[in-house]
Homo-oligomer: 883 residues x 2
């Protein structure tokens, strides 16, 4: 019989961390903490398999489930020493979701379950605090009616507001037990009026209703969006944990809080967190009350007045600190913890590996490895390569003047410039249109996920360092300033005011998530410095990886940047980019318009010296690192003006005849330029172009070789080969040029494998090609029969519908395109043993694709300069994972 | 030591037919005839390996060649009883090319070699006919100077014309021996003036010059063009045969002729040929004198006055007829023969398997098989499948009125309509522009090949049934009327006159190659009748083949035609063609412009009944044969007007708003439509389109099922799948529609494999797909990364340069695209055992591609209606070849 329910509590548990896939992160870690002897309120977890079965069987449960839940409930009653629905000593429970991966705020939760008219009075008697008991009951009715019964929470808020108005109350705290009792009557009436039946009084009915709702919330819209953004498969499902309630809101010796065992923003090795006295957990996370700090040091740093937990509840704080140390050394990683203090007793409600910024991830990994807590390999595996992106981009210049308009909490580091928007929908629309936007909200909620994703940075007027905005922004690597309390936002007027200044939607501001500052206008940025931790981790990574990392670059600036970031050569120098510069475009157009080969050669002769200078500049920077230079690739019409106006302008500027330009542009126009007269097909039709380029490369090589005493390493790459003979013909022509160039230039010749046929015929092609570079952009286009320029219309929908797991232009399609790469690798190396192979599509900077390249036995990946460090780290992770 | 030279003559030879690759067709067959004891003038053949070595080694010969030629020349002198360069008894030789495949008129020949000032006089004494000897010498000087020395033959013609004018001669026959002697002096002077050296007198020097020239002519322009058109590789090379001369021009008992052992035009089992008394062989082929018939029956049929050979030279004719029978039964095929009669003695100069029309090929194959000369399998292999095309096309309606303007010889059967052109260059240009042209020439020469290829039909004023025009046209399957002597062509005025009528370039005429008639204007055509031989051979073929043959068709006319031609089902019904009809295009555009799904559904509801009628019509014709119907494939913008004027016209006609049409057309515009939002991607985005089409198919099926009592077999095909999930989603939607249609429709669902990724993921896709149809047009485009629409700019050059053997859109690229097909076949059938697979690209009608499909284990090919018989025959040949 399948075990659908796992119990925990009282120093032991049926589950453990290793069962995370089955029990969800929350359930598994609660079990683990129970096993560690930490104070965990008892409870039980319904497995993720229940969720899967639920959706597979038309939303009905496995038949054995009822009995297993009944048995676990019995065990829980025994553990807690209370009875579910027992008037004198009622057991109250929370019902929470918990998936394999954390999805904060995405799914539903019900607290205080088990309260009804009778048990509420029992709780009142037991706690000696009737107001607390009835407040809990009315909170339960609100939450349950919303989550389980589908009513809007405004209904209950309106009743409460009206009641407060009628009685002249301003704050909730002014209401007495009798007021809550009266409101509870009104609340229940509202439910009956709306749904035609009474609010359920039977705790068992309440429990099953809540379980249904939590499993149901796995498929709500925001959970679906979140999973898509975070690449979480729907098939994983969620577990449901039912746990005895403990109360942080039972007076001044009660409290609730969230904490990290280290600073998740900087990685500093000091406790970090927030708590609220006399509050329930949701109050901290929702960001409605501004919480207090955990430690005295933190309070002093923030300049807070309210005492820290260390000062307010020193004994419990001591217990908590001990738990922090125990958990961190047990899990060997920074923990994100929720706790509650009920009348002086500490209860642990959750622990999990904490989300952190890239900077913190780096520091924590390096610190832990240097302290011997983890190995260097583990440290390498702990940092998500693509998160490095945050560290490599510009930050605000500390010396430049700052026009500060507001200051809040430094919730997520990084700096960004953008125009102000006040709604997530608008943020998404404008960002799709290419605009950089800053989302400014009073506070954010799970409904804002799409806008936060679209924004360059987020500013909120309310909420702490663990508010929704802060947690989500850090996870996304988006800069965030939260709790900028001076800001007054007027959504209707589409503006915010702060200290007498007004900023309207559409105005530009700068956000500095590292300092918590919001600045007017565009502030000055500076290039990032590669910090000590970064250098340390990269050195470990470089020692581990076997895959080389090169760069795709052609301007001296990009080449230099890439080299500074550790590029070990150029994997793709796109020579056509050089022709788009105004000085040469004219000559190149002259070449295109020439009537015959001598005319084309005359025009190319004028380009030769500048091309030679281009290559010499690159060789000088790269020294003795290999440089793969691709000969002209795009179709000639890309260099001609389109449309009558453009043609006229170009004709005027260049003196080329309008008629000729028009005629040639029309003549060269193509139905499917992606599949047209380009790449080596141009080289075959107009060999003089490739001959000029080869000459420029080889002459530059000799030139720089003489200057430096060391011959640069040139790898000449022929694009778009589909038939071996194309390469043979062109290789011969280049060899003839090389024979003519004085100074004995050395080069190797290779090809892009970017068409399915080239991959299939790799064995033939390798007879001439001395290296392969997989052009995975075009290979993806042709393998899928999918134009990248046109795919925007339906590709996002394909990913949303799960037809494709990921955008194949971002992460390599291993099953299809990858299959061709493996075929080419095998067939190529069957002809030419140990042949050098790399990848130069944009996938060269994508960690998952880099792992594939490592496993496929390629020698290098090549990516844009800013992705070079990412690729270095990803390559090291691939090497470690494979061992 | 390599044997470079093979001797023959005197009843034996070193070569034989089996050595055709080495000795060329001519050399091998001369050897074979010598071995058969037939009267062959002795000689020797320099092998094709000499040619290959010649071109591989910078046009120099193997070192041993000189000695081997010397030895063979000695043997030849002995055989002939004459001496090379021996004044009193000179040996004269011909030097001819001879490749593995016949290339009539494409390469050079030198006759009468060995003549010089001394041997000419020796020949005069020996023959007792000085005029003959000197005429031969002046012919030799002309030919040798042209072919070997590179002088223009006009030089010699001008000298001759001037001489005739000066002496008042009209005809060459009026010139005496003395006249020729004087002219020879002038000829030799012209050579010396032009080249600065004397015409070579040394026969050995003459011989090597001629050998050089013949090997050199392998690479002349017209040989290169011919090889490209006929798919003959340059690497084959030509052999050179040196053979003792015999003379058909030694008086009234001498003659020369060409013959076929059966009628190469109709296939009738009767000797067929032409001869000229007192002439050299070139005179017959060149078409300058109109030759006489071979047999009495033929003379009577043609209504000729000149006696036939049977009547003029009855004894030699009897010997010749015996040779015909011996050769045909030896070679077991119709032979094409050249012979010469020298003073009453028959000499055989050539035999080879004769070219024939498709009709003749069919009849000969069937006759020979029925007579037991060859097997049925051999008969099937004897007919080139694509030649059947000639038999399947319309011919002139015999009952319609004919406006006959000229009559000539029925040189190549078939009828064609086109506009008159007078030059081959112009014919080529106009044909490329899509015009159908008829090439009208006084006579054709090898320089006209490109124009003959471009023309629908050929008319010549001069020349017989074996003239250049006739032979080449029959080989090409192009209708031809030759020797229409009443026609007077004025090239300058660009017109011809005939019996007082003038026809100008650009006017339309009709050519009936079967009757030899040229008609004014456009004559009425009728559909071909499938003759008895055709039916017989096809029945043999059908019994042999295992590959089924279906058709690509959607109109009732095409479907019916295909069925009449033996199609065993529809392999591809392109439903989009149905939407282009005016009546539905409006609704379809309404659908495209609709703002939401209900709007689209409303428009589609209007198309449903007409679509249902479309399918019902097809089902009624096809009965219980399977019909594969492909759902909508092209991108939506193909259905919208382009350009402002078009949009306005459509807006007016349909009442759709101009602005909406413009906006939507712009919105739908694509950079690479081939790789865009089309095929099943449309089905995913707008499921309502595919649902409507599926409903129309299934409702039509039920409808016709009720009418006929037999449920038609519908195979619904989803295009452009690249990911298995696309098919899964759409298959489910179609299943839902099927559930709603009353009458229990039956269908299977499958997909096109037309993208490389689909081929690679065939294992996944076969979980849902019940059949695969390889869409090799798109698969070729994506595998090569080559747009068919754009390839025209460079693809012909690729074939010309040998980068590609053949146009991959005509003949399947077996190494690349074929590899993907084999991968898909294996992976698909690994998932679904015995899965049905076919091909529906245009390659389905190409014999070489059909052979590949057979070998790859596919179940069927599908092709256009007129190619169905071709495919049936090719499939049978594939089955026979594989055994």
């Amino acid at each position: 019989m399948t075990k659908w329910v796992y119990n925990f509590g009282g120093g032991s548990a049926e589950g453990k961390t290793g069962l995370k896939n089955l029990l969800g992160g929350k359930g598994a870690n609660l079990a683990e903490m129970a096993n560690l002897g930490l104070p965990v309120p008892p409870g039980f977890t319904l497995t993720t398999e229940v969720c899967t079965a639920f959706y597979d069987n038309d939303k009905s449960y496995p038949t054995e489930l009822t009995d297993q839940v009944e048995a676990s409930l019995k065990a829980l009653e025994t553990q807690a020493g209370k009875g579910f629905g027992e008037k004198s000593n009622p057991l109250l429970v929370s019902v929470r979701s918990g998936a394999r991966a954390s999805m904060p705020g995405m799914m539903d939760t019900v607290l205080n379950l088990g309260l009804n008219d009778e048990t509420a009075e029992g709780l009142a008697a037991l706690s000696g605090d009737r107001r607390f008991a009835l407040d809990s009951y009315r909170r339960f009715i609100t939450m349950y009616s919303n989550v389980v019964l589908g009513m809007h929470h405004h209904t209950f808020e309106d009743i409460l507001e009206n009641y407060k108005d009628d009685h002249g109350y301003m704050l909730d705290t002014e209401l007495t037990a009798e007021d809550w009792a009266a409101l509870i009557v009104d609340y229940k009436l509202a439910v009956k009026n709306k749904l035609g039946r009474d609010f359920p009084q039977d705790p068992k009915e309440q429990l099953w209703g809540a379980i249904d709702a939590v499993f149901g919330s796995w498929m709500n819209d925001r959970a679906i969006v979140y999973r898509r953004l975070q690449d979480i498969p729907a098939s994983w499902g969620t577990a449901v944990t039912v746990q005895a309630m403990v109360f942080g809101n039972m007076g001044e010796t009660s409290a609730t809080g969230v904490a990290f065992t280290r600073d998740p923003s900087t990685g500093a090795n000091s406790y970090y967190g927030e708590f609220l006295i006399n509050a329930q957990g949701e109050d901290v996370v929702a960001g409605i009350r501004t919480p207090q700090t955990l430690t005295k040091v933190a309070r002093e740093e923030m300049g807070d007045i309210e005492p820290s937990m260390e000062e307010a509840l020193p004994e419990v704080y001591g217990q908590l600190a001990a738990v922090f140390d125990k958990l961190e050394s047990h899990y060997r990683d920074m923990q994100d913890i929720e706790f509650t203090v009920e009348r002086g007793k500490l209860w642990m409600l959750q622990t999990r590996t904490g989300k952190r910024t890239a900077r913190a991830a780096l520091k924590i990994a390096v610190d832990m490895a240097q302290n011997g807590m983890i190995t260097q390999d583990e440290a390498i595996m702990r940092v998500e390569p693509s998160s490095l992106d945050q560290l490599l981009h510009p930050t605000l210049d500390p010396d430049a003047p700052r026009d500060i308009i507001a200051t809040g909490l430094p919730a997520s580091p990084g700096a960004a410039i953008g125009t102000v928007v006040f709604s997530s929908d608008e943020a998404e629309v404008l960002a799709k249109g290419g605009q950089k936007v800053i989302l400014v909200r009073v506070e954010t909620s799970p409904e804002d996920i799409h806008g936060m994703h679209a924004a360059e940075a987020i500013v909120t007027a309310r909420g702490g360092m663990t508010s929704h905005a802060a947690v989500v922004a850090r996870g996304m690597g988006t800069p965030c300033v939260s709790g900028a309390g001076q800001i007054r936002i007027d959504y209707d007027a589409q503006e915010f005011t702060v200290m007498g200044r007004t900023v309207k939607a559409g105005e530009t501001i700068t956000v500095d998530g590292a300092s918590g500052q919001v600045l007017a206008g565009e502030a000055k940025m500076i290039q990032p410095e590669m910090s000590g931790d970064f250098a340390t981790l990269m050195a470990w990574a470089d020692a581990k990886r076997t895959l080389r990392v090169r760069t795709n670059a052609e301007t001296p600036l990009d080449v230099q940047t890439a080299k500074d970031f550790g590029a070990e050569g150029i994997g793709l120098c796109r020579t056509e980019h050089m022709f788009f510069e105004a000085s040469r475009l004219g000559y190149f157009r002259e070449m295109i318009l020439a009537e015959d080969e001598p005319g084309r050669r005359a025009a190319l002769d004028k380009i030769l010296p500048v091309q030679r200078d281009d290559f010499a500049a690159i060789f000088r920077i790269m020294g003795d690192l290999p440089c793969t230079i691709r000969l002209l690739d795009p179709p000639l019409h890309e260099f001609l003006p389109h449309g009558e106006d453009d043609v006229k302008a170009v004709a005027e500027a260049t003196g080329l005849p309008v008629g000729d330009l028009m005629a040639r542009a029309r003549e060269l126009d193509e139905t499917n330029p992606m599949l047209g007269h380009r790449g080596c097909r141009l080289g075959i039709s107009y060999p003089e172009i490739y001959e000029m380029q080869a000459r420029a490369i080889l002459e530059a090589q000799v030139l720089v070789g003489k200057e430096t005493g060391k011959m640069p390493i040139a790898e000449i790459m022929i694009p778009l080969v589909s038939v071996a003979k194309e390469l043979e013909i062109l290789a011969e022509k280049i060899a003839a040029v090389a024979n003519e160039v004085e100074g004995d230039p050395k080069y190797v010749i290779g090809t892009m494998i970017e068409l399915p046929r080239a991959a299939l015929r790799a064995g033939d092609i390798a007879k001439t090609a001395e290296f392969f570079s997989f052009g995975t952009n075009d290979l993806t286009q042709t393998t899928f029969g999918l134009s990248r320029d046109d795919a925007g219309r339906f590709l996002p929908d394909y990913v949303a519908q799960g037809i494709l797991d990921k955008d194949p232009f971002v992460t390599l399609d291993q099953n299809g395109v990858g299959d061709l790469i493996e075929i080419a690798e095998q067939r190529g190396r069957a002809t030419r043993k140990g042949m050098k192979m790399g990848i130069c599509g944009e996938h060269g900077g994508d960690p998952a694709s880099i792992r594939f390249c490592h496993n496929a036995g390629l020698n290098y990946v090549s990516c844009s300069p800013y992705r070079v460090p990412i690729a270095r780290l990803a390559a090291a992770q691939a090497a470690i994972s494979k061992n």
